[in-house]
Symmetry: C2
Subunit: 363 residues, 2 copies
DNA sequence: CTGAAAGCGCTAACAG
DNA sequence: CTGTTAGCGCTTTCAG
């Protein structure tokens, strides 16, 4: 249970001064004879010395750690995000402090403040709330934030870097695919639309319909109310409920575009509840491309892919660029093109026999 | 970009001494006049003062943070673990430092050391490697560790608290269920069996068979070799490959017990690849009960549930009990009884019509 | 090439 | 009730 071996102890044993030990620690070997280095190293080993990072951090102000605030890592999507962020942060010499904020601005702020006061100077927000106003004070003090899936709006009091796919485009890709398959009554399934990403996906959905001369029917837009605090994992439940509702309408939609893959999988269940088959009776298309879930679902899910590895890599590099002062200037917004991954959950509404034989003309 | 408001600044403004400010900070209000408190508070606000946790931690040695080392949060199971750990740690005033070690002992050790040197004194290991020998030095210095799903063996050089389900029992529950359904050729599907939990599940599988007078056939045990570093998410791929292999044997198994739910879902795919149906042609039973995946899969997955919320709650309490010195003494091993959740992926091998009409006699 | 000394911001005796 | 003081363990000028 030894605790307290300090540079002084090492110094004494090696018969040098503490500052020399510090120099060894920091690789400034050019300032001393190789033999001195040697002696110091040996002493460290003998004493089982480990540098106290807290002291170092207090002194230098450098805390090699970034924060990641997500709705909930229990959601496979955010789990994957965390996994990717950790991977690249690690490779850049940073550790990851993870927080689940459950989309609660207060919690977000509390976390961000706690991070700031433990020396963390950069955080990635996965939650992408509509406004970052609650972060203004911290941002003013110098907290760097990069937002996932959210560009700061002109109305914002604080500008942040951001990274994300073009959600509007993604939604249009999805809906256009459905449209060219021949669908006209296309439902939109989502939970509370309180994030820009969801807003954008809805906008893209509506735009694509209008573009094709189809008037969006508000009755086909289902916006579930979040029930519990455990929110995210329930995309499945919400998707299921939403699908049941929409598919029970007198003139039911022939296709469902969902705000993410969990909702889509839930929609499968909802359809099944009503004795409907995917894609024969109803096409379903998701968002995210949560491999491997999308590949093992039956039928395999057609969805819009967000290339997480690249995205999170960019995000971390953006952030660390700021932290290391190697990047300054106005906020950057990296927007990535999403890709439609066509699998088995979408088909023509006319007949499930002639599925692939229709002439498909891209918009 | 202000950084550096210290207790001294506050003290000066409030016309008190730094120690008084410190006392306010630490809620020792009984040591001063209410009006003094008032003045200090006002000064803090005026200056936008935030206590520097690093300094406090350096001074007191208390770092309210615990570490969690898992194979990969991209795996929904570990994501759920992280989620639960964070939840209760948070409620006990601790934050969570998360690391993906990819089951690599070296990485585990590096992380654990980094944690130690930043003042973290307790970590939860999800990876549950076969041996904790690599942690001996840290444990000797006083690092508290609780292992998930792994009791320390007598041969261990270091004893740690642990929490986990009775994996042997879980496996027996699963296999017995299959046995009473009438299955005799039951396959075991797993990735590398290098953790006690997997070892135990295998043992339980074998024990249950023997108990029923069925000689375990080594040819029905499939132990996939881990391919990539991204390991865990690939349970699905491995399960698929394993199922294909086992189900292609001349006398193919009529049921598959998999080491976890991801493998089970992969097994679905493998069966499908061969034109086989679950559960008509082959029963599948998993482990973990990854809700909601198990409930939206088709068919819904029969599996052995690990009650994560309780388990992680226990784990964190165990750990924080040690950290706060409120618990001392020999290592504790909390073992929880797993529960068999029967859904739709298991049926009698004889006929898929008579499924539920057999006389079922529990062992 | 190496050492002495002054803090980083906070806390905790111990005096007053 | 409140102030003085001495560090926590490390880094970093600045002298030797």
């Amino acid at each position: 249970m030894s605790e307290n071996v300090s540079v002084y102890d090492v110094a004494r044993l090696a018969k040098v001064s503490p500052s020399t030990v510090s120099n060894v620690l920091n690789g400034r070997l050019d300032r001393m004879r190789p033999e001195t280095t040697e002696r110091v190293m040996k002493a460290m080993e003998q004493l089982g010395y480990t540098p106290n990072q807290l002291a170092r951090q207090l002194k230098t102000g450098n805390v090699p750690m970034i924060g990641l605030i997500v709705p909930s890592v229990a959601n496979p999507f955010w789990g994957a995000v965390a996994r990717n962020v950790e991977e690249v942060a690690q490779s850049l010499g940073y550790q990851l402090l993870l927080c689940n904020a459950e989309r609660d601005p207060e919690r977000e702020q509390r976390y961000a403040e706690a991070m700031w006061s433990s020396g963390i100077r950069g955080v990635i927000f996965g939650s992408s709330p509509l406004s970052f106003d609650h972060l203004v004070p911290l941002a003013h003090r110098g907290l760097q934030v990069v937002a996932f899936d959210r560009q700061s709006q002109s109305a914002d009091q604080v500008v942040v870097d951001s990274i994300g796919v073009d959600n509007t485009l993604g939604a249009r890709l999805a809906v256009n695919h459905l449209l060219t398959e021949g669908h006209r009554r296309i439902g939109f399934l989502s939970g509370p639309i309180r994030t820009v990403s969801r807003l954008d996906r809805l906008a893209g959905y509506q735009a694509a319909l209008k573009n094709a001369g189809v008037e969006p029917d508000p009755a086909l837009i289902w916006e579930g109310a979040s029930v519990s605090a455990f929110g995210d994992i329930e995309g499945v439940e919400m998707g299921r409920a939403g699908a049941r509702t929409l598919l029970s309408r007198p003139e039911r939609p022939t296709a469902l575009f969902t705000v993410n893959d969990m909702y889509a999988l839930g929609a499968y269940a909802g359809a099944r509840d009503l004795g409907l088959h995917v894609p024969e009776d109803v096409s379903v298309i998701g968002f995210d491309d949560l491999v491997p879930l999308t590949e093992i679902s039956v039928p395999m899910l057609t969805t819009v892919r967000q290339p997480l590895p690249q995205m999170m890599c960019e995000a971390v590099e953006l952030l660390i660029g700021r932290l290391s002062k190697s990047r300054t200037g106005p906020p950057e917004h990296v927007v990535i093109e999403p890709e439609l991954i066509v699998r088995e959950s979408t088909a023509s509404p006319i007949s499930h026999i002639a599925v692939d034989t229709l002439t498909i003309n891209k918009e």
